[in-house]
Amino acid sequence: MQDHIQLDQKQINDDLLAGVLGMPKWWLPAVLFLTLVVFAGLGSFGYMMNKGLGVTGLNRPVMWGFFIVNFVFWIGISHAGIMISAILRLTQAEWRRPVTRAAEVMTVFSLMAALHTPLFHVGRPWREMWVFPYDFARGVWPNVRSPFVWDPSAVGTYLIASSLFVFIALIPDLAVIRDRAVNPLVKKIYGTMCLGWRGTPRQWKLQAVAGILLSALVLPVFVSVHSIVSWDFAVLIGVEGWHSTIFAPYFIIGAIHSGVSAVAMLMALSVWLWGLDKYLRPDHFDAIGRLLIVVATTWFFFFFLEWVFALYTLEGVEISLRELQVFQWPYGMLFLIFLATAFFIPVPMWMFKSVRRSAFWMFFTTLLVNVGMWLERFLIIIPGLVRRQPFTFDWGTYHPSIIEILIVAETFAFVALGMLLFSKFFPLIPIFDIKEGMVVRDEIKIGRRIVPATIRE
């Protein structure tokens, strides 16, 4: 981190609490617009409940469409928080400090968004609780061997763990807001939430231990969530292209690819919208760019293996599915867009330092990655179902209806709205972490050079 700016504690408080104690001009219109989109989506859902699933584009044999694609996409985005926070915290990567909070919060809201869509997809959401093995009264038990039953448990556990993760890291910052709040009611609320934090050595120690423990414990949950989501598909033998051993790690590395990209987008937005360029320096974009090169290349290797082994079988049905994905309209065009946006445009661009250090180019390339990764999920799910049946008269096609499009848009608006509301009440960059970073930062003089250094215990 060569272009570091040393700031004093007061200035850090002022900068990072500006959004909480004040209100940017754009904030209210943005919240109103996003609320409108959310209500449009919820209205569509209400209409769908009233009329039935027939208002969607779902039909035999394609019974999984935009809703499930979107579910997998948001589960993927939710992997960013833990990737950035837990792994970088455990490896003591200094550049994580200004990035962790936003990534963790995005995890929570994207998990909520992910939970939306299967709830809508089942058509009868009031029976959602049937997936839980509780039904002592009627003796009707869900099949606990099914990944559909594991899904809610895994995602629910992940949501609880992530929320706890966010909360533990928030405590010292809540105390700062408590101390600076003027309104007695606000003071009382933040005072209650920060659990009597006074910053004693014992409290700091407990908070640090809790952070490390949660980081280590949440990692297996993080792995299990997307593994189980992938097994929703991979344990089936009836759909060509789905029954593949690589699906669990392939889904996870894909999730990390899209999730870390989403964090880079958030970083750029934080610089533009909240003016946090003193905290999110070009070095931070450079670091996440380098991480993305590694992640994207690993993801591409998994993608390559998945394809190689599909062709390796030389089975007619499998080969014809791959031909459908690559050569037939509209999937062929989508496949090209997917490959270009998820890998072939961004990765060569990230090789250039000037791109990695630019908020604009990082935003642009990571936006492309997320377009590509959404399409990837679409191309995994839909073509396999289109040709699911052995006879041509049973083949189908899929066109999403406006209802599905509105509900998908609602999930995006929901996450954005959640982030904006969060930023109004809590700092998006962890104040205590930034202050700690300023304290442990040092320099060493070697000959005529000044080398950045870090104090280690």
Binding site: Q2, P220, V223, S227, W231, A234, V235, I237, H243, S244, T245, I246, F247, A248, P249, F301, F302, L305, E306, V308, F309, A310, L311, Y312, T313, L314, D442, E443, I444, K445, I446, R449, V451, P452, A453, T454, I455, R456, E457
Partner: protein
């Protein structure tokens, strides 16, 4: 700004970079009788291996079943010694200072690649051509003929590439150390060799920049090549021999096992250096614990990969998948499978979770030994069973499912000799390489003297670590 450079934490006498150079060169020059005794034992094992190989060769190469243990040993060395350099490459790219005393140990294992290249040559005769009609990576669409020897050609090129890059990496890393040996060692064969290998190194800025740049590139290439070789070997020399085995994750599981066993190999080596090699001033608990944590993470990663494959086969339950489970796990090699499960996963996981054991000098090496035993059993489970499939190379046999699960093949005397010889050869060559190249990286230790200082921070003394761009 930090205040002054502190003394070496391991030994107060090692204050300056010159002290470090003198000390390490002195250790490199001296060779104890114990070293030669140990080297002799491994040399004898290597000779036994050569005898075993000649015995095995006398049976010919047409029956793949009898060559299973040989193939397993080749794969074992690929998985351990040839994967060990990653312990130097990855932390160097991440600029982690803890790697400095152990990076040379990891890189030195690349010379064993030369030995494994020799072991690979007979594999080209053992592996039948693709003309038997089995599935292969090297397919053509539209009914075109498949080149029968594609696996042989591409795997040879890949392994050759891996070995060349590995040796180049070691040489590039050792350049400044060769120059130091050249400048300080007494006249003799070491000085002559060091002079040749140092290639006129004088430590100019241009040379340092070139060395740093090339180390990064060679490291990245070694990693990519290692993954590629694992991919080719695990598919061409394993999966394709078993009808119906379609496992897109397996090449990665094979490579993950390589990273796990590579770390275990380096951990065990540095522990031996720490305990018996007289390098306690350099190799500290920090390195052993750091590798222990890495080993823990990689053991979990390997298990997750294995479980992901197993779960899909278990749930799929297709006849070919059930046959694979029986062949590799529940059938004739279940003793090896349960051994792998215990040594590679259960034992590392349940012990490494326990802080007092992980943060001890005995815990991590015992766990590393467990992982190496597990990896050894895993190679036997996979390769001996695959090579024992009836009808490899016979076009008349069903290539889409294992029709008959073969009996267990236990090692013959020749196989035992081959296994001992491969292990002996691996260690013997490593030991011989340490006579030519200093086993602790001198220039990286000197560099650490610049980047690491200790200073007072409030009421305590803290370590300050520089991290250059």
């Amino acid at each position: 700004m930090a205040s002054g450079h502190a003394e070496h934490p391991g030994n107060p006498a090692l204050v300056t970079a010159e002290d470090v150079t003198k000390d390490l060169l002195g250790k490199h020059e001296g060779t104890s009788n114990n070293f030669w005794r140990v080297a002799s034992v491994f040399g004898i094992l290597l000779i036994l291996g050569i005898i075993g190989f000649v015995m095995r060769l006398s049976d010919g190469v047409s029956d793949t079943a009898v060559w299973g243990y040989y193939a397993a040993m080749f794969a074992f060395i690929l998985t351990t010694a040839q994967s060990a350099p990653m312990v130097a490459i990855a932390p160097r790219i991440a600029k982690a200072h803890w790697r400095r005393p152990i990076s040379r140990v990891a890189e030195l294992w690349t010379v064993v690649g030369l030995f494994n290249l020799l072991l690979f040559i007979p594999m080209l005769w053992i592996l039948p051509p693709l003309s038997d009609g089995r599935r292969s990576l090297w397919f053509y669409f539209d009914g075109g003929d498949v080149p029968s020897y594609s696996p042989h050609i591409w795997s040879t090129l890949a392994i050759l590439g891996l070995v060349v890059i590995g040796v180049a990496l070691l040489w590039m890393s050792a350049l400044p150390d060769f120059a130091m040996v050249r400048d300080h060692a007494p006249d003799g064969w070491k000085k002559r060799w060091a002079t040749r290998l140092a290639r006129g190194w004088i430590g100019s800025s241009a040379q340092w920049n070139m060395q740093k740049h090339r180390l990064g590139i060679l490291g990245a290439f070694y990693f990519m090549m290692l993954i590629f070789v694992h991919f080719l070997i695990s598919v061409d020399f394993l999966i394709t021999l078993v009808p119906g085995w379609v496992d897109s994750l397996f090449p990665i599981t094979h490579a993950a096992n390589g990273l796990q066993a590579g770390v275990a190999t380096v951990l065990l080596t540095i522990w031996a250096l720490y305990k018996f090699g007289g390098y306690k001033d350099y190799i500290a608990f920090d390195q052993i614990w750091a590798l222990g944590k890495l080993l823990f993470a990689l053991s979990l990663l390997w298990f997750w990969f294995w479980f992901s494959s197993f779960n899909i086969f278990w749930y799929g339950g297709k006849p070919e998948e059930q046959a694979i489970i029986e062949l590799l796990m529940s059938g004739p090699y279940r003793w090896a499978f349960f051994g792998v499960f215990f040594f590679n996963f259960l034992f590392p996981m349940w012990t490494m979770m326990w802080n007092p054991l992980r943060r001890s000098t005995w815990g991590p090496p015992i766990i590393a030994a467990s992982v190496l035993i597990g990896t050894f059993l895993d190679r036997i489970r996979l390769y001996v069973s695959a090579y024992s499939i009836d009808g490899i190379g016979n076009p008349a046999i069903n290539k889409h499912v294992v029709v008959e699960i073969p009996e267990t093949i236990y090692p013959s005397l020749a196989d035992i000799f081959i296994m001992l010889g491969a292990l002996g050869g691996m260690v013997f060559i490593f030991l011989m390489a340490t006579r030519l190249i200093p086993i602790v990286n001198i220039w990286e230790q000197r560099e650490l003297k610049l980047y690491e200082i200790h200073k007072t921070f409030h009421r305590t003394v803290v370590k300050v670590l520089g991290k250059p761009d």
